[in-house]
């Protein structure tokens, strides 16, 4: 299989004196899900639009699978599915009709169109709505159909711009599940968001951007580790209230632990060094203590801490 890649080479976009994206150099390769994280106005959507030739770069190149998007658009986008900004589907058409048009435009062979449409709609769990007019759909339902349109031609590269924007919690959860299922099919997914928990939940790696500049690109754990100085944090929840002295016991029992602190009656945080090996060792040790452990997971605030520090440093 051709190596999947998304590459920005000195990519910049200016609007007069305003710099939306500044000399972005980013290379993403292989089949994975990468989050593109940044505050509002950071340049995420502008970057994604340059990768889909909706915006012309002021300088630099946007390459997909090694092909320049601006100079060889059709070849570059032939294997790309994209959901940019707040897309819409024609309200007076049914999903089947709208996707049939998109399938033709995307070059899906005639004989395969109906099957591909049904597969894409099934993947976003909208089968029972396939022949109902889109005008009757909720925002979440339309978003799912838009995702279906993005994956209709079975693209190897998927670009998603804030795919859960404007959705209610249930809608957000459903779309995240859909994106996770897309990961299973050897695709390179590049997804922008400003919701940290979403990136943590769905993505393998994260690229952070602020004021049009790339400030970090790595796995989530490594990005967090860079900020925390290599420390990791796990949150533990017990079935019963914490016994007195348990924190001291944990502090003393395991090498590499920086601190063990109570958070609540039945939960506590452990800060440690040593990466995933230490994480595994500590878990095994706590289980052996027979304290009734029911949850052991990396702290959801890891990425948040890293993000806030990195963004603060660029301001």
């Amino acid at each position: 299989m051709t190596n999947l890649s998304i590459e920005a080479v000195n990519l910049s976009k200016h609007y007069g004196s305003f710099v939306a994206v500044s000399n972005l150099n980013l290379t993403i390769e292989g089949s994975k899900c990468v989050g593109f994280l940044g505050p509002n106005g950071a340049g995420k959507t502008t970057t994604l639009k340059m990768f889909t030739d909706l915006i012309r770069p002021s300088s630099g190149e946007a390459l997909i699978n090694g092909v320049n998007v601006h100079t060889e658009k059709k070849k570059a986008l032939a294997s790309v599915g994209a959901l940019i900004e707040t897309p819409e589907i024609y309200p007076s058409l049914t999903p089947r009709e709208a996707l049939m048009m998109i399938a033709e435009i995307r070059g899906v062979p005639n004989a395969e169109r109906s099957q591909r449409i049904e597969e894409a709609v099934s993947e976003v769990r909208m089968e029972e709505w396939i022949d109902k007019r889109v005008g009757k759909f909720s925002k979440g339902m339309k978003q799912r159909i838009c995702i279906a349109s993005a994956i209709l031609s079975d693209p190897t590269v998927v670009l998603l711009d804030e795919p859960t924007l404007g959705l209610d919690p249930r809608g957000m959860s459903e779309v995240r599940e859909i994106i996770k299922s897309l990961k299973n099919k050897k695709r390179l997914i590049f997804m922008s968001s400003h919701i940290l928990s979403e990136i943590s939940d769905v993505c393998d790696e994260v690229a952070m951007i602020d004021h049009g500049k790339l400030i970090a690109y790595d796995t989530i754990a490594n990005v967090a580790a860079k900020v925390t100085g290599g420390e990791n944090v796990v949150e533990v929840e017990l079935r019963h209230p914490i016994e007195p002295g348990l924190m001291d016991k944990i502090n003393a029992a395991f090498q590499g632990i920086e601190s063990a602190e109570k958070k609540g009656e039945r939960s506590f945080r452990i800060t440690f060094n040593g990466g995933v090996d230490a994480q595994e060792r500590i878990l095994a040790g706590i289980v052996q203590m027979n304290v009734g452990i029911i949850s052991y997971k990396p702290a959801s605030s890891e990425l948040e801490d890293a993000y806030l520090k990195l963004i603060k440093d660029t301001r």
Binding site: T52, L54, L77, V80, T86, P87, E88
Partner: protein
């Protein structure tokens, strides 16, 4: 991307637009009603038979003092006038007491004009001099005033001819009625049209309205259709696909062309069925001209699309271009009636040639060799505008 793929994508986009139109019931009703209203309004403002007035309210003042005890000249005149009027019903004649009475009645709007027989009318006629009649007109309505003058002058001319014939026969009884007419009026003028029948104002206006409707559907419909998709967000969905932007424009144009042709056909059917417009030339040539009209205007529509950020701007730009074109292109009024500088302006407008070509084919039965100037202008204009518009559109669509 091959031509076949380009066409296929374009047809798919056109199909999508027409499906959306079909499912928008209100839009569909308005699409049909608009040309219907235009035709009915214009058609019934101007009557379908050619310009003969009827029952024009006119007042008569007879100030003839007579000669001796005789007022024979004025009495003969009035009798002759009443005889002609009873045959033609051109006027609703009433009596007025004086010239100032006539002027009062005109000012009140009770009459459209008046006839004044002067006090020395019989004296002049019996002394072998010309009798002078005065026509009083309503100057606030130049068109009606001109009509009254024309009608009354024709009537008086006819009566004068009859009186002259009687004078000739009295002077020489050997001269018969036919010879006396040849003496009094040596020239007899006949008019003959290029085609049978007497085309009405509606025959004049129908081709122009058809051309204008097609122009509007492309110049209005195209920018609005694309701006709407830009605003709603569906255009970006198409643009991120590996599709030639030409397909988008071509598809939208095909969709709008179908709409324009539908409206043009409605106008054509209404013109022939309701207003008895006769199409002298080839129907196929009429539709070919409408399609050529689309080609002429599509480039202009694309340019408006490229520069309009949203639907409102697109509509304002379109109205700014369209209104002058409608009135200066000879759609409603003949260009020849305009001042020379306005005629020069009309000669650079594509709608002028579109409506002229349609008019020649529909009213005069012209064929292709008779409209080569119009065809050339429309093709050249369309080609130049399209050549300018496409790169502008491509550039504007990628910001």
């Amino acid at each position: 991307m091959g031509a076949k793929t380009l066409l296929s994508h374009s047809l798919r986009i056109a199909w999508k637009d027409l499906t959306e139109l079909w499912r928008n019931r209100l839009g569909l009703v308005l699409l049909v009603l608009m040309p219907l209203f235009m035709m009915v309004m214009v058609g019934f403002i101007y009557p379908s038979n050619s310009g003969s007035p009827s029952n024009l309210p006119v007042a008569l003042v007879n100030e003839d003092a007579g000669f001796g005890n005789s007022t024979i000249a004025s009495q003969t005149f009035i009798m002759g006038l009443q005889q002609i009027n009873s045959r033609t019903s051109m006027m609703a004649l009433s009596n007025a007491s004086s010239v100032s009475d006539i002027k009062d009645l005109v000012q009140k709007g009770d009459i459209e004009g008046g006839i004044v027989i002067p006090s020395n009318f019989t004296e002049s006629i019996l002394n072998g001099e010309q009798g002078t009649l005065t026509i009083v007109t309503d100057q606030s309505n130049p068109q009606v005033s001109a009509t009254i003058q024309a009608v009354l002058s024709a009537v008086f001319d006819q009566m004068g001819t009859m009186l002259a014939q009687q004078n000739v026969q009295r002077l020489n009884p050997a001269v018969n009625a036919s010879n006396s007419l040849a003496i009094v009026k040596p020239y007899n003028v006949q008019t003959e049209g290029v085609v049978p029948g007497t085309p009405s104002y509606f025959d004049f206006i129908a081709p122009g309205i058809m051309a204008m409707t097609v122009m509007m559907s492309v110049m209005t419909g195209l920018p609005v259709a694309i701006s709407q998709e830009k605003e709603v967000g569906t255009l970006d969905g198409m643009m991120v696909a590996p599709i030639n932007r030409l397909s988008i424009i071509l598809g939208k144009t095909l969709g709008q062309t179908a709409r324009g042709l539908l409206q043009g056909t409605i106008i054509l059917v209404m013109a022939t069925v309701l207003f008895h417009v006769t199409i002298q030339g080839s129907i196929l040539l009429v539709f070919a001209l409408l399609l050529l009209g689309v080609f002429s205007f599509v480039g202009l529509g694309i340019v408006i699309t490229s520069f309009a950020k949203d639907q409102e701007t697109a509509q304002m730009m379109m109205m700014t271009l369209m209104f002058p074109m409608m009135f200066l292109s000879g759609v409603f009024f003949p260009i020849q009636q305009m001042p020379w500088y306005m005629q020069d302006i009309s000669r650079v407008l594509p709608l002028t040639y579109a409506s002229q070509a349609l008019r020649k084919v529909m009213v005069l039965g012209a064929g292709i060799p008779d409209i080569t100037t119009e065809l050339t202008v429309m093709i050249v204009f369309g080609a130049i505008m399209t050549a300018i518009a496409l790169p502008v559109f491509r550039r504007m669509m990628t910001r």
